[in-house]
């Protein structure tokens, strides 16, 4: 009954989404408040039903009900509980259900907390949201239904791909989807604005918290995914320029641009048409990412061709929504009123530069990701576009961007003073030069670009701090007064500083890891000692061990430095009998921001085992950076001026209303 109820709840959600797609639009057209309000209750009810459907699928996985094909194919009764739950979205059907659940969640949030939106805007936004939802409900029900049954249930499931049996699966996909799907709200707002034919600074103010929320989740999701790949895949790499990663990076770049351009729109009523376009593009890239990952087109164009139903359906969704919204844009955008003007050297100008660089970077990733696919489809030739291409195109775009980042917040709106900003950044520049010189001296004869990059990172971090110091007039007025000003600063300002500093932190990590990474690769026998970056690692022995649904070979290493024992590391190799697959569990030892990393290879006949040991200096900063950025975003989101639907005193709202009428 659980399976069938879950299935029926999903079908009902589709019905509600269809009603939510039409009735509010009709209501907005005839200015009927009750019809417009239907959007709200249906969005909430839709959320309820999808949540019930998702809960049903989770229950089925937990109770190992193999009469459901999806459970049979991806679960195993011996799997630990956590992986039974995460296994729900560790497969295609379940992950699509998670996708629509999050879509409904965002719709529900707009319905519940969108009190501050004008009635017709809210109706339009929710209706557009329902269009997207309907398309994906249909997709799930018709091509990827997780509730299909098996009449004669098999006794045991086929188990989840062992690589996915990891805590990373519990966090990474939900985060990433919250990011991807969160951008659907800005998309819905953009399409709603085009439908209404009206857009102004208030629109940006309303849409910003949603964009920000999606951006925070996407940032964390990408960082989390990168860390997961780093420790689980056993190669010690943290970014592969793999199409799946690029698929998540593209919406991030476009979303970051959107975040900044919406700022210009909110403050200065300018860049309106561009912001709408960015909203559409960002979500289109999210959809494209979904298509790339879910249609199987990446594994091989041919795999896609052999079972094209899913791929073609998503492609259809892609065409309808991207094509439709862009046509609507082409049709309605010229009618939108243009906003304020500004000088090239101004905060607006800086943000435009930011947008130009980010969107160009996004375009290069887009080309690098899709060109090989297009080539394979057209000529059948298989090429791979890898790190060299991206390093070559991405770096030249990000260097000017990073150089410009500290200037932005220091420029005034409308008309800025570049010289003044430069003067105020003097300290940051000096610190950067000193850092560069120190690194250069310390690593004399080594890489030449790396010290420059470290200097750039120092400039970005110090620039963010300079901005703060400038705002609280540090050292120019008594300290107590400065502190008071610091408390009075809007949280968004703090957020900006954190997010920008996070960029610099991540850059330091990236440069250090790629330049000064040291490694030992060889085969070791018990009692052999490997020396890496001043550490001695002694292989104590290899012991077999039995896990719940796997058996593993655990190697024990004692780590010493200058004769002092530091720790014991236990990398292992796991064998999963059900799928006949094995995984490598790397062992990580964190020392400050640096890490030692051991992963095991194959054992040879004479009892030796292949071992890869890396010392990765400051590698953790790569992920601290995005976490800082996300924290900055969170600060900005909690800014009282941006709080969505925070209970506003009823009187103020009523007064505003009177004034309006």
């Amino acid at each position: 009954m659980i399976a069938e109820s879950g299935h029926y709840a999903l079908v009902l959600a589709l019905g509600l989404a269809l009603i939510q797609s039409i009735v509010p639009i009709v209501g907005a057209r005839w200015r009927d408040a009750a019809l417009m309000n239907v959007a709200r209750s249906t969005a909430l009810a839709q959320l309820l039903f999808v949540a019930a459907s998702f809960a049903a699928l989770v229950t089925l996985h937990v109770t190992s009900d193999f009469s459901v094909a999806n459970v049979y194919e991806n679960s195993h009764s011996l799997k630990p509980l956590l992986y039974k739950i995460t296994g729900v979205w560790g497969n295609h059907e379940g992950s699509m259900l998670l996708w629509v659940s999050i879509l409904a969640l965002f719709g529900g949030l707009v319905a519940a907390f969108g009190n501050n939106l004008p009635l017709s805007l809210r109706a339009h936004v929710l209706a557009v949201q329902a269009w997207v939802a309907s398309a994906f409900y249909l997709f799930i029900l018709i091509t990827s239904n997780p509730f299909l049954r098996i009449a004669n249930p098999p006794l045991e499931g086929r188990d989840l791909n062992p690589v996915l049996q990891d805590i990373g699966l519990a966090v990474h996909p939900p985060m990433l989807y919250l990011g991807y799907v969160g951008f659907s709200i800005s998309f819905s707002f953009a399409v709603a604005a085009l439908l209404e034919g009206r857009i102004d600074a208030a629109w940006a103010r309303w849409v910003r918290p949603w964009t920000l929320m999606a951006w925070i989740f996407l940032t964390l999701g990408i960082a989390m995914g990168s860390y997961w790949a780093y420790y689980e895949l056993g190669w010690g790499g943290w970014w592969f320029w793999d199409p799946v990663e690029n698929a998540s990076l593209m919406p991030w770049l476009a979303g970051t641009a959107l975040l900044h351009s919406a700022l210009v729109m909110e403050k200065r009523n300018a860049l309106k048409v561009w912001t709408v376009l960015l909203s559409i593009l960002t979500f289109s890239l999210s959809l494209l990412g979904t298509f790339l990952v879910r249609s199987g087109v990446l594994t091989s164009v041919h795999a896609f061709a052999t079972d094209p139903t899913r791929g073609v359906f998503i492609l259809l969704i892609l065409f309808v929504f991207i094509g439709g919204s862009l046509s609507l844009y082409a049709w309605r955008a010229p009618a939108l009123k243009q906003g304020g003007l500004f000088a090239p050297i101004s905060r607006e100008g800086a943000l435009v530069l930011n947008n130009l660089l980010l969107t160009t970077a996004c375009a290069t990733v887009f080309i690098g990701t899709l060109y090989p696919l297009a080539l394979e489809v057209l000529t059948g030739e298989k090429i791979s576009v890898g790190a060299p291409f991206f390093n070559f195109t991405f770096a030249p775009l990000f260097v000017p961007l990073l150089l410009a980042v500290p200037f932005g917040p220091l420029l005034a709106w409308k008309r800025g003073d570049l010289l003044g900003a430069a003067q105020r950044l003097m300290v940051a520049g000096i610190v950067a030069l000193v850092a560069m010189a120190l690194v250069l001296a310390w690593t004399y004869g080594g890489a030449t670009l790396a010290p420059l990059a470290i200097g750039l990172a120092a400039f970005v971090i110090m620039g963010a701090l300079c901005d703060l110091a400038e705002r609280i007039a540090l050292f120019r007025i008594p300290l107590s007064l400065s502190l008071r000003r610091a408390r009075g600063l809007p949280r968004a300002t703090w957020g900006t500083a954190f997010a920008h500093a996070g960029l610099g932190v991540a850059l330091i990590g990236i440069v250090c890891e790629t330049t000064w990474n040291s490694e030992y690769i060889g085969s070791m026998k018990p009692d052999d000692v490997a020396r890496v970056a001043g550490y001695q690692l002694r292989l104590d022995g290899l012991n077999p061990r039995q896990g719940p649904n796997f058996r593993e070979m655990v190697a024990q290493f004692t780590v010493t430095r200058d004769g002092d024992k530091i720790s014991v590391m236990t990398p292992s190799k796991r064998n999963f009998t059900t799928r006949g697959a094995s995984t490598t569990e790397a062992a990580l030892l964190t020392r400050g921001a640096s890490q030692l990393y051991i992963s095991l290879g194959d054992t040879s006949a004479d009892g030796a085992i292949a071992v890869r040991i890396y010392h990765k200096p400051l590698v953790l900063m790569i992920w601290w950076g995005p976490v800082l950025m996300a924290f900055g975003g969170l600060l900005s989101l909690s800014d009282r001026r941006l709080r969505v639907g925070a209970p506003k005193p009823a009187k103020a709202a009523a007064r505003a209303l009177q004034a309006a009428e």
């Binding site: 009954m1 399976a3 069938e4 109820s5 299935h7 029926y8 709840a9 079908v11 009902l12 019905g15 509600l16 269809l18 009603i19 009735v23 200015r31 009927d32 408040a33 009750a34 019809l35 309000n37 239907v38 709200r40 009810a45 309820l48 039903f49 109770t63 190992s64 009900d65 009469s67 501050n116 939106l117 004008p118 009635l119 017709s120 805007l121 809210r122 029900l141 049954r149 009449a151 006794l155 045991e156 009206r198 102004d200 600074a201 208030a202 103010r205 009523n269 005034a412 007039a473 000003r485 600063l489 649904n549 064998n575 009998t577 001026r641 506003k648 709202a653 505003a656 004034a659 309006a660």
Partner: protein
């Protein structure tokens, strides 16, 4: 019944979600307004000025700009027609919800759902399974045991053929491999492994499978299964002559009562090879050595009578004692060789009936029948 009740409740809840806002006619929830945003922005400028973030001149400029937007927004809101209710539209929407929702939901659900299937969670299943699926349950138990003791070669040896028979060829391949690793290599196991590999490839002798058969033949040149499938591989490659030669050699060397004889003969005929000319007594199966020796000296007609008599005796014996699977198979084979296909069919039916109550024997029988080329 409960299920339909739950569905009905859910549908009612969904319809209610649509009808509820339609019914609240008096109070109109007017939503927010841009005016509020601009007021916020004005207040923010005051705050920023108070905390000294912006100067008085900048504040004034910003205030003027925002006030302009505020006025425009207020103007716009004033010009819009006040929200009005349209009873007809609301009624239409209500009808759409009342009729549309159940229609959409039921048409999709009835097409896709399986309302007759109940839940079948693990807890319930292990209770039911003993009675219903002894074999599958046993397999699961052995698999669980092997999960914990993966080096138990005997376990893998027992499990592998069962998996193969259940059609779980991929698992069978792994099981045979483990059996070979932990219980030792043998021609039989290699041949069985090759057969399982074929099974997972949908009956095609793949390069992997062929390699296993070759290994099996290397271990035991007379392994019937491996030789037969090597012949099949040759046939699939289009080397019919090679196939025929292989099979002819098998028939020449193999024992006279080997159960695979008819199968190989049939295959040989298929590739156009001639069945080797051996003594008729040898081609008629299942006669004890002494009888064959006696038959050699008989005339053609006498020999026929003798064989027929033996077959009839076998048939009579089986009528009284039907448990002898080997006997049944011998009988069917005999009828087939004598060209009495109808009798073979009826013997097959009798055999099935005789051992129907014993699952093991029935399986053995079906296996044997399959080898004789009488499928199903």
């Amino acid at each position: 019944m409960t299920l339909w009740f739950v569905f009905a409740l859910m549908t009612v809840a969904a319809i209610f979600a649509v009808l509820w806002p339609l019914s609240r006619r008096g109070r109109t929830d007017s939503g927010g307004s841009e005016v509020v945003v601009y007021r916020d922005q004005l207040a923010e400028i005051d705050r920023d000025m108070a905390s000294g973030i912006i100067g008085a001149a900048e504040a004034d400029a910003a205030r003027i700009e925002i006030s302009r937007r505020l006025l425009a927004a207020a103007d716009q809101t004033g010009r819009e027609q006040p929200a009005q209710g349209s009873l007809n539209l609301r009624r239409t929407a209500a009808i759409v919800a009342l009729v549309g929702l159940p229609v959409i939901a039921s048409s999709f659900y009835l097409a896709l759902g399986s309302p007759r299937l109940g839940d079948f969670p693990l807890a319930e299943r292990s209770r039911v399974a003993d009675a219903n699926q002894p074999l599958a349950n046993l397999v699961a138990q052995v698999e669980a045991h092997l999960e914990k003791n993966p080096t138990d070669g005997r376990g893998w040896t027992v499990l592998a053929p069962v998996l193969s028979r259940l059609g779980r060829y991929d698992d069978a391949v792994r099981a045979y491999r483990n059996a070979i690793t932990y219980a030792g290599d043998s021609a039989d196991r290699r041949a069985d492994l090759g057969e399982a590999l074929m099974g997972s490839a949908g009956g095609v002798v793949t390069a992997d499978a062929k390699a296993e058969f070759e290994r099996s033949v290397a271990l035991n040149g007379d392994d019937a299964k491996a030789n037969y499938f090597l012949g099949l591989a040759a046939e699939q490659d289009g080397r019919k002559a090679d196939a025929a030669a292989l099979w002819q050699k098998m028939l020449a060397k193999g024992p006279s009562d080997a159960p695979w004889r008819p199968l190989v003969q049939a295959a040989l005929v298929r590739v156009g090879g001639s069945v080797p000319d051996v003594a008729p007594g040898v081609s008629a199966p299942a006669l004890p050595d002494g009888a064959v020796a006696a038959a050699k000296d008989m005339s053609e007609a006498d020999r026929g009578t003798m064989i027929k008599g033996m077959v009839d005796r076998l048939a009579t014996r089986l009528k009284t004692n039907g448990d002898d699977v080997e006997g049944w198979l011998r009988l069917v084979r005999a009828y087939l060789v004598m060209g009495e296909r109808d009798k073979a069919m009826s013997a097959r039916a009798d055999a099935r009936q005789a051992v129907a109550n014993d699952a093991d024997r029935l399986r053995q029988l079906n296996e044997g029948l399959k080898n004789l080329g009488l499928d199903g």
